[in-house]
Symmetry: C2
DNA sequence: ACAAATATTTAGATTTGCCTAAATTTTAAT
DNA sequence: ATTAAAATTTAGGCAAATCTAAATATTTGT
């Protein structure tokens, strides 16, 4: 598989956590399933193009210009996700791969018209915010379950820990991605929660709650 | 510029004129703005993959499988063109380049859902037919002006001869792409036409008419 | 602070698509 | 039918992205 400059920019952006922190060669390599030496090569090129700042052995971050490019990619990716769900009735959990391809289409007009068609959405189907044309973010509607206030409801849209044991736990407790969840009560002393899922009330530890993402709906 | 296998398949398909005739290395090279030797290389690879039939010095055509791939590409290209015009209000003459990118997106589900969203259109904005999922074509609604029956109307959607002199001629006669045209009268002896364009009645030779495409509307 | 472990870069090879130039085959003209 | 012209393929190289293995730098644990 041959990776594009845009793929590298995206990886650096995401690893930089929105705040444009320095990311290491190995981090990028692992994220992109490639070798560190390949990353070094490409990063040098991005650096020469004025897209990234690279310092040997120190890591890499995006330049202002690089960040603009990254934001544009994120914007396109998330707009396409909304399109797939809202207009083509894809399920929210099957859009990523296709959006991954669509985000590389080069046409500013296309992106802007798509934005308009969709009614200028502020978040994607996973609850992640969509940057505006000028790069501004609205706040996310996605929160870790343990940060959701009592009484609030949402849809389970992702996990932070995707290890087998955790997923197994979810399964055993009949919590699935896509489920509607309401926070009923929060224990003071240990942060554990009573939540309602599929009409059933269950009790989960803070540990668990800290690894489940909710897209808040009310 | 680095061309994909799909680009080659498309070129071979289009040069083969729908009927899957043998096309020459040089034809493909010219169409793709690349060198004959590059074409030879790629054609060999396509042949090994079972997508094309290649005989040294004789030319190339698509296998059954290759034709399926080509049809899928044409289908995707034209569906995206309809999308851009109908849903995103692009002008019909500015969609080609973007559709050229979109046609490479790999997702059968996406294509089928798009088809549905658009109401299963049978022709694209240029009047060219859209293959169905199973590869069937409806007949084109695009005709050369000299083949259009007297009384019929349409929109000028393209030229066969795109040389500067011809385009200059069109300009001088105030015929532009996108214009509505009605055929008023046809001369028996030389095939020349009286047509109405923008409220004006003008007279054009068969020669000219044989190089103007109309998308028939009534 | 030092050695061992880890991370990163460099060197050199590989693959792929493309190119130029030379060799070969086919086509066309007399 | 023969030869000149045109088309096509082959040979050899280049550039880009990647990989492996070796070299170098940084970090960590004691």
């Amino acid at each position: 598989m041959t990776l594009s400059e845009e793929d590298y920019i995206k990886a650096i952006y995401h690893l930089g956590k929105g705040e444009n922190s320095m990311v290491s060669t190995n981090e990028v390599a692992e994220q992109m399933r490639t070798k560190p030496s390949s990353v070094t090569d490409m990063i040098k090129k991005l650096s020469e193009k004025g897209v990234a700042n690279y310092r040997k052995y120190k890591g890499v971050c995006l330049t202002e210009h690089g960040q603009k490019l990254a934001l544009t990619l994120v914007r396109k990716h998330r707009l396409w996700e909304v399109f797939l769900v809202d207009k083509l009735n894809f399920a929210w959990d099957e859009v990523h791969e296709v959006a991954e391809q669509l985000e590389h289409i080069k046409s500013e007009k296309l992106t802007d018209r798509l934005d308009k068609l969709l009614g200028y959405p502020e978040v994607d189907p996973h609850g992640d915010p969509i940057p505006s044309k000028t790069g501004e973010f609205k706040k996310a509607v996605k929160k870790l379950l343990n940060e959701v206030p009592v009484g609030a409801s949402g849809t389970c849209v992702g996990v932070k820990d995707s290890s087998a044991p955790f997923l197994k736990f979810l399964d055993k407790n009949k919590i699935a991605l896509g489920d509607a969840i309401t926070v009923l009560e929060k224990e003071e002393f240990d942060g554990s929660l009573h939540i309602e899922v599929k009409g059933k009330s269950i009790h989960i530890s803070n540990q668990i709650a800290a690894n489940l993402y909710l897209k808040i709906t009310e």
